[in-house]
Symmetry: D2
Subunit: 298 residues, 4 copies
């Protein structure tokens, strides 16, 4: 199983809502369009997919639409992590049967002080043993308050059904420590576009990037320039993308990302409550940032 | 609706598991026994109930067993908060129909940096408008990373269907600020037994206390002593309870609490994975702490 | 030495500046006036004294003026803690020779991750061994990022030259744990007026309170009411003081405190850079908060 | 003034102690040896120099010994930041007169919640206006709890006497945002060896690295390989250095660094209390980590 090579760029796709329901035609349209942009695959039901706001059946339906709408060459990776071991296994296997190729499993975190190395190693090992598709670990301290230690990653990377990690810590020092601990075929993916260039140069295989929802070709271009040893061009493009990425992640969040999608030919739809829609001033600021980076607004 | 007076002590009851399934006979036995201890009511599906590890149907069944096993005079308050507004409303109303008297709704927190005052006020107002039972806010920064501001509480306390708050911050300064902002009939409950005495003296109406799962009579005694102006006796008992409370919350967590329940005639059962069972040394330490506080082990 | 009883109220006095120099006549005037307000003593060179902005010679001069201006019955406690053990000992002894009665020694914190129990116990023990006046520990996580553990306090409280602790964590649960660990004559003082009432009821000996710089008599009144078992009156006064205390500490900081001093007949003087002076809107808000608490502005 | 180009590698040198006094002969020996290793200059009195444990006169003496012992081509940058604006200016100018070429000024942080953009911009502008040598900002959230915002850096980078920044956040995303905001001749230096390779590739001018106290030639080699576009070799060396760097910074701290210096032909001397000396097991672990990275121990 360990031979799955995830090298490339992945958007963690959004879940567009209309009147508080999943807008499946919007979702389908986005997936079709993204499939043609040079990306390697799609992450469904990640943090940007408002995963925590979806019921189990909605999650299943979102995965179904995504698989149906994606090109056949797209890798479909599902965010099937839940707080409990048993629910994570159940949901992952349900999605495996639907055709998902791999699962991205967030660190459980509600009882944060108890989620030590021992608990996390046991959790991920048990899940990996019992699911029918390979899994990736998902380290996202900003959302979870949990940071997966280098020691835990080192132990887990040896499991035959754990094929990689998405790290969204933005900590390039820790990325280096991770890379030092794993075999060359283990897929270390960076989870924030602001660190993409540095991470790839350092040896990461690719990136799962909110930015790839609106500018997939730019992300793929950074990836390709580095493959082609065009370091200066890659850096220049990375630096130009940083303010855009900041706007649609840390600063304006998912509603900012969805608004930017609308500006760039995708269908963002609405966010689900309690997330708030972008305000007018935020929209103007997002436009300004996009134009400042030389992005043409449709 | 505002006339519901919640003054008293409430255990946030645990969900006992056996072989990873809910052990309903254990749950029933605990509820029956607790009902006779002088408490005012029960919190079902709080953090100590491993709420985040239960499927929707399991939650429903846990509420059902609790309601069936509790004395008729017990107030049943359900932890029906979910991340999305719509699911919170749906689940709360489902439980209202089953006979729950009120709901304790945790601050949504996954997109923590976006859960500002505006978002939280809108969330709670919408929920309160659309559910059929009164609600209490639940502020638990240790688990959620979110602290409900004094300003947000002040605004929300005016809603006719928001009847109180459980505050587990342990910050007595903030409790005072909360108390300053609300009407005398608004139910400010403290969420940690270590602060019970101070909170009650300051004007809180009662407490929702993990400790009340193992020593409900001691908690009720502190409450009653303060009603009777026996301050010194209340303080002495509070100080004696502090190490016990620390052991079964911050230090050894839910598995420590369940082990202590077994020692004291209740049925803790197992925790659900990824929580880990107590280790032998932890069990010995818990025994020692209980005996140090003069608690007789059965 | 252990017989020093610190029961009572202490203002951690400010250092008034004029044109960036210490305004000793202002300082003297404040100290004289405070000495007549019923307080037990004065803290010189605490956090509110802008201790970290003073050179060694300025510190010495501030202590000198304070001792000269205070009534003979005032206990003078100096904030002589530095980052290094040797400088702390040196400065404490220099101030002891000037007539200081005790020293309040903050936890060293720059190398925070290395300031574990072992390091802190060794630090305080060494200092206590080598200084000529008794010392109090000073736990102020908000400023230092360090929280003195219950275990460390327990060990240190047995040292014959360590007579107490000022705890500014505001965590009443931890205060209870501290109280459980120490002998009855060990002076546990609370460091935030927002927790004064609760802390005293719980068994603390007194308080070191920024609020006592502007409203010493109100603080002393809370203290006295509790001595006299007038709990309801004490609580009512505590709740009324909370917004004032919040304004001159967390919200507007030392410049807010100094502005409030000016309004209430004291001489706040200026803050030293990089602290910023209060802005006009902040001044108006402070006035409003004082008046809202029924405080008469001179 | 803006023309000073700081491109290169700098060790933030340690202050060796013997029996609690500065061991100037050790210091001199280290500086002489480091001067021959290809580095661009030396940082005196940084965090690794136990700056906060030195009296003013000791600081002066350490700078004197360093300047006297360094090769003439070494840039001498002094850590002259204090909490107050006036003391920072005074100390910087005193060191300027001694021959320091530039000053590295840490963000003041004791009153952290008040050190907002406005306060920090005013602080640094005032200092830069009044000192006789150019200054660099120093952003080190791990020690200070303060993170210099992109907006503040953008404003400050325009000041003619502010020539750079040392960023120790390890956040490559933020480094990119910084680089986007400044002129090409502004010196953005990375403050942690674990991020050196990524930072240089991204456009940083150099690094101020604890690791350069023990392995200056390795650090210079990474720097040079990148200049020569030998990306793969640079990466390989970076990854090999990461565990060593981790050991002598986050994991074992300054006492670990000093022990490693002893192993590698430098004179670490003792740490000053309250820092604790390395324990035997820590020493064995450090040896093991060095050998694991292929470093020969003398």
């Amino acid at each position: 199983m360990k031979t799955m090579n995830l090298a490339g760029i992945y958007p963690p796709i959004v879940t567009p809502f209309l009147k508080d329901d999943v807008a499946h035609h919007y979702l389908a349209e986005n997936v079709e369009k993204l499939s043609k942009s040079g990306i390697k695959g799609l992450i469904v039901l990640g943090s940007n997919g408002e995963n925590v706001y979806l019921s189990e059946e909605e999650k299943i339906d979102v995965v179904k639409t995504t698989i149906q709408s994606a090109s056949k060459n797209m890798l479909i990776i599902v965010g099937s992590g839940c707080e409990s071991t048993r629910e994570t296994i159940y949901l992952t296997n349900r999605m495996a049967k639907m055709g998902a190729h791999a699962a991205l499993i967030v660190t459980p975190f509600y009882y944060g002080s108890k989620m030590n190395d021992e608990a996390l190693i046991k959790y991920y090992s048990t899940v990996a043993d019992q699911v029918e598709i390979p899994i990736l670990l998902y380290n996202v301290p900003n959302f979870t308050g949990i940071n997966l230690s280098v020691e835990a990653l080192s132990a887990l990377s040896k499991h035959p059904n754990i094929i990689g990690i998405k790290d969204s810590s933005g900590n390039v020092n820790q990325l280096g420590q991770y890379l030092n601990q794993v075999n060359p075929d283990f897929n270390v993916l960076v989870g924030t576009a602001g660190a993409l260039f540095a991470a790839l140069i350092l040896g990461c295989k690719g990136g799962i990037l909110a930015l790839a929802n609106i500018l997939p070709k730019k992300c793929v271009e950074i990836f390709q320039l580095i493959q082609d040893d065009k370091i200066k061009e890659a850096r220049e493009l990375q630096l130009r993308m940083i303010p855009v990425n900041h706007a649609i992640t840390a600063k304006y969040g998912i509603s900012g990302l969805k608004y930017a999608m609308n500006l760039l030919g995708y269908k963002g739809g609405e966010v689900r409550s309690p997330l708030l829609a972008t305000k007018y001033e935020e929209q103007e600021k997002i436009k300004e940032i996009l134009m400042g980076a030389g992005i043409e607004i449709t």
